[in-house]
Symmetry: C2
Subunit: 209 residues, 2 copies
């Protein structure tokens, strides 16, 4: 009965996707413990028991959500080229990170929430992919410094500054909107913010003549 099995696979894919999307939104808004399976089920318009049918436990569902977020992060990470043009590499990376904050703020919030609480569930992500990536970029930035392409600044503080500033626009969106007359940032404001973030950081790295 190949037809029936195909259909079941499609139903599974469709439902899993709907649940993951709702879970990301609910976890972002209420945190892991503050989110109940019932809230996620209601948001996805799927009976609560079915969430357990597709994802055996709340923790496994949460981990799947974080894995999705990490995939998005990896795509942005790739845009930080270790070529020999720091201006282009940093501009591309910062722009990409700001776009992620604008388009997927929930993912950023779940990640922030997890790290704030000591990364009890995703610690392995930090000590593997993130650590490798960070060290490779630090090496690249050190080379730029030796070649006189950027100023002599400890690379890791620059990376933290980029992460902090770009992710702030997602994680603290509520505060930013409150200070913006309770309105979300307009496209123009997003562009201006993105350009300012890059301009300030680049002004601090650009070699003085």
């Amino acid at each position: 009965m190949p037809e029936i099995r195909l259909k079941k696979t499609e139903i599974r894919a469709e439902n899993e996707s709907r649940i993951l999307k709702s879970a990301e939104r609910i976890f972002a808004r209420h945190g892991f413990r503050g989110s109940s399976m019932r809230m996620i089920a209601d948001d996805a318009s799927i009976p609560k028991a079915n969430i357990h049918y597709y994802f055996s436990s709340k923790e496994k569902l949460y981990r799947r959500v974080v894995e999705r977020i990490f995939t998005v992060w990896l795509e942005a990470a790739a845009s930080f080229e270790t070529s020999n043009d720091p201006h282009a590499a940093l501009h591309s990376y910062i722009s990409e990170k700001m776009e992620i904050s604008r388009l997927y703020p929930d993912g950023s919030k779940v990640w922030a929430n997890e790290v704030i609480h000591g990364a009890p569930i995703i610690h392995d992500f930090l000590t593997s992919a993130l650590e490798d990536w960070t060290n490779s970029r630090i090496v690249a930035m050190r080379r730029w410094i030796e070649e006189g392409k950027i100023r002599d600044v400890e690379p890791r503080w620059i990376l933290y500054m980029i992460w902090a500033t770009t992710q702030h626009y997602a994680d603290f969106a509520h505060q930013i909107e409150t200070l913006n007359d309770d309105k979300a940032l307009s496209i123009n404001q997003w562009q201006q913010a993105r350009d300012t973030v890059f301009d300030i950081i680049w002004a601090g790295l650009e070699p003085k003549d």
Copy 2:
């Protein structure tokens, strides 16, 4: 019986202080919903029922914790002088914010956690004190721009950059330590990070000649 009343007052002050300190640590580590009154009671070595005796409900205890954090924030806010020396004002403010991240990371985490989740409990802080303070500093920075003392950059993106970067060292401390061979930053590293944050931001604001 003035003696007995005095002693009771002292006991109350002592116990309330112990509970608030434990609550801040537990809330920072596990979030509001992830923290139970039992965890806070155990951390403070005080019977669970007594927490309810001193603070009528979990939410009121949480609010008292956030009020304490806001007091610390206000002290740092005062160090951002609206005088006519932007270099001194920003250096003082950034240094103060970095010190807060170093000395009171738990408070910063509770605040971040709250804003990430849409500030359900502290929304009034955002729309009163924080909004007033922010607007006053934006006015001051606009004046600096008109007087040619800093470059023409939208002040609010600068403020967000300062908040994001300084608070990142508290909120994402776990990630930073993981990338630092699982060790907390040394005093030297804190100083270097603080100086770098200021230098980069000032390089982007300092008028070009």
